[in-house]
Amino acid sequence: MELCDMPAWKLKEMISKGEIGPEDVLDSVFNRIDAVEGTLNSYITLLRDSSYAQAKEVKRRLKEGESLPLGGIPIAIKDIICTKGIETTCASKILKGFRPPYDATVVARVKRAGGIIVGKTNLDEFAMGSSTENSAFGPTRNPWNPETVPGGSSGGSAAAVAAGEAILALGSDTGGSVRQPAAFCGIVGLKPTYGLVSRYGLIAYASSLDQIGPMTKDVKDCALLLQVIAGKDDKDSTSIKLNLPNYLEACEVKDLKGIKIGLPRECVSESIDRSVARVIEEAKRVFEKLGAKVVEISLPHIEYALPTYYIIAPAEASSNLARYDGVQYGLRLKAGSLREMYLETRTNGFGEEVKRRIMIGTYVLSAGYYDAFYLKALKVRRLVKEDFDEAFKEVDYILTPTSPTPAFKIGEKIDDPILMYLSDVFTVPVNLAGICAISINGGFSDDGLPIGIQIIGRAFDEYGVLGVASAFEAETECHSRRPYRR
């Protein structure tokens, strides 16, 4: 097996035993990049030179006896997370040339932990989309089948990890943008509880929903990366102070005796793909075999989650994206007056989907419409959250498909926004409720595309969710399949 197809925890062991050095891992990763990036387009920016410089520095630190949780592990960062001095584009023309003067808190923590940042990955512009087709830098393709999308918006990160173009990656999840691409690419993606991971330096799409999450080859890597990025940050007022558990310990869970898992009847309707239904059915049997009790539950308001999301998220986005006005940084088009400069810059700088959401958001916040749309959406959001609160009185975890279908064809849904939005129907409620969920590979479609299952947990029960996922992984083989493994 090539090094680039191995999980981080395994590579760490090999590095610490002196069997390999960080450069060997980088060599392997960049070889893979050279081989597949032309097809996949996972990255917007590659940092080959600085990667090797970072590797040298990590070696020095390791030699000095520093304990580095990510010592020498190549990691890809979604290009919506700020990296000091490195262009951060959000896959938008409007941020062309923007080099943040600071590192996002998660980036600073990854660097401190000895992670090596190999590049900035592609995404749907400003994380708006479910296919990574809405990018000013062209679409990313799914390594399992380049005719299909990798999911989105963190499609670049998902494709890179699945293809061995990175060992680990960070994505951001506002309505499913970590979990859905993880599912489409057959990797692990965690959406942490709102407030567990600092958003400082994450370029905002919808501030009350955004969370940064790990995207990894297996659950143990997910725990490893979560440990590094989680925890209170004084620069983010919405980050929560709490005693972090040792997430790696959660991965030692071997059985699920006494655990109750809920299967919402709303999530097993006819509208989901046959192969997805089959994978859920199989997953149910695996959990039962592990000793868990799987029961049917109801989340009555979940059908309103998607429309609610498409009011709240665009509303916040319309405000968050107003700063791209051509004054301070990024694109500025010349015009005869201030107003025209705004219009020219924003009309040409933003893509269609971003403009659609800015307009929806501006509309729902306008005088006369606020109460009917935005305020109502906030109330429904509360009902969705209460559905979960009720369910968690009865069960410990909730199992759903991550997405109703496996990866779809490039171009298939790009002209039908509503159809595209439906791809996130099972992930969006988790963001509205502010709780945590993981997507892991649960099996494959008849066409050989990976299918994700989502395990939802209570707020700040990442430890539990990782444990359930880990037990599932230990009992199944599907997660160890890789698209380019030889």
């Binding site: 600071y102 958003r199 400082y200 370029i203 405000s319 006005d325 501006t362």
Partner: protein, 479 residues
């Protein structure tokens, strides 16, 4: 038809915190190189997040408590969205539906002006137009200075309880004095750390009229003039049978008129919504009582103290409390010298004039307290007379020299010796025969002229009481 002006004010005060409202940049932007006290947060760079400055919250609470407001236990921030180059996030973090405090009042000349709300918000940057006038008109381009961006403000909104331009001015003066006493703001209108907008309408037979909003009143005088102008304008429209149009108007101080800035239709839709980057704020009873306990002396308490303890009159007290630095200086003088009535008199009549002439600031005049003390002692002991004392006091400040030195080196000691003064009196009488004649023919006014001449001849050093006595004696001898 009974027409009455109805005025409400919105006042912004910059809070005297060391750092900005949501980041740790310093707030002292006056005179700084443009864009030198900025960071990703106050520049609104992508990915940056606000963190509330607790000190700003404390100052805002202190102001709200002094304004007799009810502090709301749970408050929150909203985003006020609009595009302008000096607003780097394209929204201002402000407060909307739940302000920090509501329902207060401030007493002006015995009348309660109700305060509707007090809320916190961040300031914007400044545009610099490279034209001779510094105004946008005719500028080829504009520059943005973000130094002021994120400086903490409180906005104080009154109910429409104010009924004249004078009352409006007095309200703002009293509010300025209050925030200065509280240490909440320096209240400097010229530098823009205190800014005032007004809403104005005319009630006809008790029925409210249409209001206009006036902006750009940058001094107490401007407030009074702009409101007087606008009241007149409304009255003329109403009396000629027309209707006042609801709009925002700009006060042009040089022309002395208001002009339309934007109409009701062009009013912004700010699309307020709760700021998701900040958590709701819970104000505990402990925090409020802690701030109440550490409340400094308020201007009205100070004025009462001066009246009760020092026996000062209304007018004196009004002048001395017009700014906090003056009141502080007065208190410092009294602590050092005693004699509050005399000290008050000397500060108001002499010091304020001297300070004005020499372009000094009161807060830089503490060195003059020992001088004043000495001058008053010299006066009391009769070493110098009143007129010399005034001149010596001024010179002591100008030259930074002890009054006793000036008196000695210039030989300004008062001459009270009758024999010594008799010669001067005689000489004056000889040289002013006409005045002597006119006095002797019954015109008493001539006496003061002659007295003045003696003082002149003695270079002001003569003891006026002694001169008077000698002069009376000599004139009697002539009659």
């Amino acid at each position: 038809m009974e027409l009455k002006p109805v005025i409400g004010l919105e006042i912004h005060c910059q809070l005297l915190t060391k750092t900005k409202l949501f980041c740790s940049c310093p707030t002292d932007y006056v005179g700084r190189e443009p864009n030198t006290i900025v960071c990703p947060v106050c520049l609104g760079l992508p990915g940056s997040l606000p963190v509330l400055n607790k000190e700003a919250l404390k100052l805002a609470l202190r102001a709200a408590l002094a304004l007799n407001c009810t502090i709301l236990k749970k408050t929150r921030f909203h985003r006020k969205n609009y595009f302008y180059p000096d607003l780097p996030k394209a929204y201002q973090i402000s407060q909307y539906d739940i302000p920090l405090a509501v329902n207060g009042y401030l007493v002006i000349d015995g009348k309660r002006i109700r305060i509707r709300r007090v809320h916190m918000e961040e300031d914007a940057g400044k545009l610099v137009h490279p034209t001779k006038t510094g105004r946008l008109e005719g500028a080829e381009y504009s520059l943005v200075d973000f130094n002021r961006c994120g400086v903490p403000l409180i906005e104080i909104v009154t109910e429409p309880d104010i009924s004249s331009p004078e009352e409006a001015r007095n309200f703002v003066m009293e509010l300025r004095s209050l925030v200065q006493h509280l240490g909440v703001s320096d209240g400097n209108m010229e530098e823009g750390s205190l800014r005032c907008d007004a809403n104005i309408s005319i009630s006809v037979d008790g029925k409210f009229g249409t209001k206009t909003e006036i902006k750009n009143m940058n001094s107490f005088k401007a407030i009074e003039r702009a409101l007087a102008y606008e009241i007149n304008r409304h009255m003329e429209v109403i009396l000629s049978g027309g209707e006042v149009i609801q709009e925002t108007r700009h006060w042009d101080d040089s022309k002395g008129i208001t002009t339309s800035l934007r109409g009701k239709e062009e009013a912004h839709d700010y699309r307020y919504f709760p700021e998701p980057d900040l958590l709701p704020l819970f104000i505990s009873d402990e925090m409020v009582s802690e701030i109440s306990k550490t409340m400094p002396e308020l201007p009205w308490d100070r004025r009462n103290r001066w009246k009760m303890d020092f026996g000062l009159g209304d007018y004196e007290v009004f002048v001395l409390s017009s700014s906090k630095v003056l009141g502080d200086f007065f208190d410092a003088c009294v602590r050092e010298i005693g004699k509050p009535k005399e000290v008050s008199n000397w500060i108001q009549v002499e010091l304020l004039r001297i300070v004005d002439d020499l372009r000094l600031k009161i807060e830089d005049c503490y060195f003059a307290i020992p001088y004043l003390k000495e001058v008053l002692e010299l006066l009391e002991k009769g070493v110098i007379n009143n007129q010399v004392a005034k001149a010596v006091f001024e010179e002591s400040i100008r030259e930074r020299r002890a009054p006793i030195d000036i008196v000695k080196s210039k030989g300004l000691e008062q001459v009270s010796d009758e024999e010594a003064l008799k010669d001067a009196v005689k000489r004056v009488l000889e040289e002013n025969e006409d005045a002597v004649k006119s006095y002797l023919s019954g015109k008493d006014k001539a006496f003061n002229f002659l007295l003045g001449q003696v003082m002149k001849v003695t270079k002001g050093k003569a003891n006026p009481a002694v001169v008077r006595k000698v002069l009376e004696e000599e004139l009697k001898a002539l009659s």
